[in-house]
Amino acid sequence: MYLSHIEILGFKSFAQKTNVKFNTGMTAIVGPNGCGKTNVVDAIRWVLGEQKASTLRSDKMYDVIFNGTKSRRPLGLAEVSLIIDNNRNVLPTEYTQIKLTRRLFRSGESQYLMNGTECRLRDINDLFMDTGMGPDAYSVIELKMIETILSNRTDERRRLFEEAA
């Protein structure tokens, strides 16, 4: 199983439809400060079901919708699709490719879709059970985490061990 590509529209600074195709090995994302690299990471966390706005550096969840610039009006919808290649049948489904989509309207309505059909968040979580793919899995490592993992005060380290058990 690997991530094939991601399509982003209206999520954070992605006002235009953007498609990023991932390599099965090592993909690097580079560019100047503040241009949207970490926003791509946030888009992946979001489409995999992230529920906490603060993990996406936002106050409220609708803050992830493109909120305009000097020359563009804010958009009314954020939509991200993640296409996963199920080549080793890790995911319990007969599909060889799975397209996960998450939408959020400024009205507050939110939708999850799997291969084009609407589903619930529970269905997505069930699909990823025990594969290490869910939003909480430690598969995103940031510089800030290095301090917390090594510091003696938090039980963050203990939590990581328990999750692996």
């Binding site: 199983m1 690997y2 991530l3 954070k12 600074s13 992605f14 006002a15 235009q16 953007t18 498609n19 990023v20 195709k21 991932f22 390599n23 099965t24 090995g25 090592m26 993909t27 690097a28 994302i29 580079v30 560019g31 100047p32 503040g34 241009c35 949207g36 690299k37 970490t38 926003n39 791509v40 990471v41 992946i44 610039t69 000097k70 020359s71 563009r72 890790v90 594969t131 290490g132 793919m133 899995a137 430690y138 598969s139 995103v140 490592i141 940031e142 510089l143 985490m145 290095i146 301090e147 993992i149 090594l150 003696n152 039980d155 380290r157 203990r158 061990f161 999750e163 692996a164 058990a165």
Partner: protein
């Protein structure tokens, strides 16, 4: 539950020691111990002694040594319950050139079974990736993603062509 935790802990410990010595030097010592007290609550102690030093606790390690130790721990946990992809957001920033090489070697080894997405400003890490994307904001506040080849990236950076490494 307790027995399972101990099994997982032992596997993480063996992984940690072997990854730590591959990131530092052969003879360097590292270890994980569960502190006394109720096994389901007790904290996990890390000892790490890079390059023949004798730090009494991991707090005394330098910024770069802490980063490599944390990476060794995260990969040790990861090996027990591998997730199909892993995102690294500027984790290589505190590392010097020699440690960047070691970091890349470790990632390359894991990239046979895992997909890596790495956000970086470091030229050596960029060079090591198989696919490279640049994120820019040609229009203020609006992100755009373009696929780049490493040699192209160098030409694009107009600033002074110093012989740097």
């Amino acid at each position: 539950a307790q027995k399972q935790f101990y099994d997982v802990f032992e596997r993480i410990r063996t992984n940690f020691i072997s990854i730590f010595t591959s990131l530092f030097n052969e003879g360097d010592e590292a270890d994980l111990q569960i502190e006394e007290g109720d096994p389901l609550e007790a904290a996990i102690r890390i000892t790490a002694k890079p390059r023949g030093k004798r730090p009494s606790s991991i707090d005394m390690l330098s910024g770069g040594e802490k980063t490599l130790t944390a990476i060794a721990l995260l990969f040790a946990i990861y090996l027990v319950k591998p997730s199909p992809f892993c995102i690294l957001d500027e984790v290589d920033a505190p590392l010097d050139d020699a440690n960047i090489d070691r970091y890349i070697r470790l990632i390359r080894k894991f990239s046979e079974s895992t997909q890596f997405i790495m956000i970086t400003h470091n030229k050596l890490t960029m060079e090591a990736a198989e696919t490279l994307y640049g994120v820019t904001m040609e229009e203020e506040g609006v992100s755009k993603v373009v696929s780049v080849r490493f040699s192209e990236y160098e030409r694009k950076e107009e600033s002074v062509a110093e012989v740097l490494e």
